[in-house]
Symmetry: C2
Subunit: 215 residues, 2 copies
């Protein structure tokens, strides 16, 4: 039985929920509330699973895994169908670069722990934190748009006609962008792909509002 340590609003957990759904894998959701009890991710029991206290973590019969992209690649290797990465090495590199532009260059800078530090240690106002958030989202998603719009391999989804690893990252990031009122007008390819993903039950059922811990 797969057990996913998750928080409804965590963008990284959202990615893995989509991947699990695309693979048709049932899992037990164990909520880790990032704001309650001083952050449940900081409790010793959870830190034993995820030393940095990040969600998600996926518990399986073969061990517990952290880092959303590593988890999704693990799921793809152990449950190959439907594939979340294409077969040719060049195309795999393209999809991974799209995913990592979001997962390395946008999301970590806007993570809850970073926003908390900005306020606590640097005295940033809510307005300054919102501007920070929008700055990194806008710069990063514009790069993603350029990677998508300029490449004939972009299809209904980020790569061809099947949703995959890059789409698992894109949809949660755009969800966050909307939550923080980031303008998406200059990103037509990206919006078109997100709209296609949102037609699919795998994406719909992974959305924050559909989670057992949603508020």
């Amino acid at each position: 039985m797969l057990r996913l340590y998750t928080y409804f609003r965590s963008s990284a957990a959202y990615r893995v929920r989509i991947a699990l759904n695309l693979k048709g894998l049932a899992y037990e959701a164990v909520p880790v509330h990032l704001l309650r009890d001083g952050g449940q991710q900081n409790q010793p029991d959870y830190r034993a699973l995820s030393p940095l206290g990040t969600v998600p973590a996926l518990q399986t019969g073969s061990g517990t895994f952290t880092q959303s992209l590593a988890i999704i690649e693990y799921l793809d290797e152990t449950h190959p169908l439907p594939p979340l990465l294409p077969a040719p090495a060049e195309d795999r590199a393209r999809v991974r670069a799209l995913a990592q532009t979001i997962a390395c260059d946008i999301h970590p800078v806007n993570n809850l722990r970073v926003l908390q530090y900005l306020g606590r240690e640097l005295g940033a106002t809510q307005e300054q934190k919102d501007a920070w958030y929008r700055h990194w989202v806008c710069a990063g998603l514009l790069a993603v748009e350029q990677l998508l719009a300029g490449d004939p391999r972009t299809g209904t989804f980020c790569h061809g006609e099947m949703p995959g690893l890059a789409d698992c990252c894109l949809v949660p990031q755009v969800f966050n962008a909307r939550r923080f009122d980031c303008p998406l007008d200059a990103l037509p390819t990206l919006r078109r792909i997100v709209a296609a993903c949102e037609q699919l039950a795998a994406f719909q059922n992974a959305a924050p509002a559909m989670q057992p811990d949603a508020e």
Copy 2:
């Protein structure tokens, strides 16, 4: 011919330089100076290769690739020996999680563009920027130490007796940690592994001081 767009001090480029050396692949280094000319990574020619303006980018006969981890996986898939990832899916997930803890949870938060924003937009002093840097490095490397120290699969290197993807990420991050005077006393496993890596020519020749654009 492989062409690597690199900056001597870029931690992400340093990772790819190590991987290229471990694979024994010759490449032409094309320096992109991140501070000169308003940041050479912002010039249109470079942005056409790397829309977000990040280094490294690797130009090959099969296209240009961005994102250091995607590039290293591409090199590993197209030049399998010596392998930079182990074979079992569980072990691959472990190595990727170690790499991503560094490449997603430590490095992007401390990237040059982020430090510049802290000063420019939030008025952070040099002292505050240094404290910021050390905070994320210490938290992240402590998690890496725990992942390494508590796992029998840790060997001379991060995973067993051959250097791989996680080592490619660890050594540049520890180089940066030293540059910013981050204390490493609580990280004995990590220091032992870095010392082992530093014995190898592949790591030595990838170091910032050995690059043609070193200052």
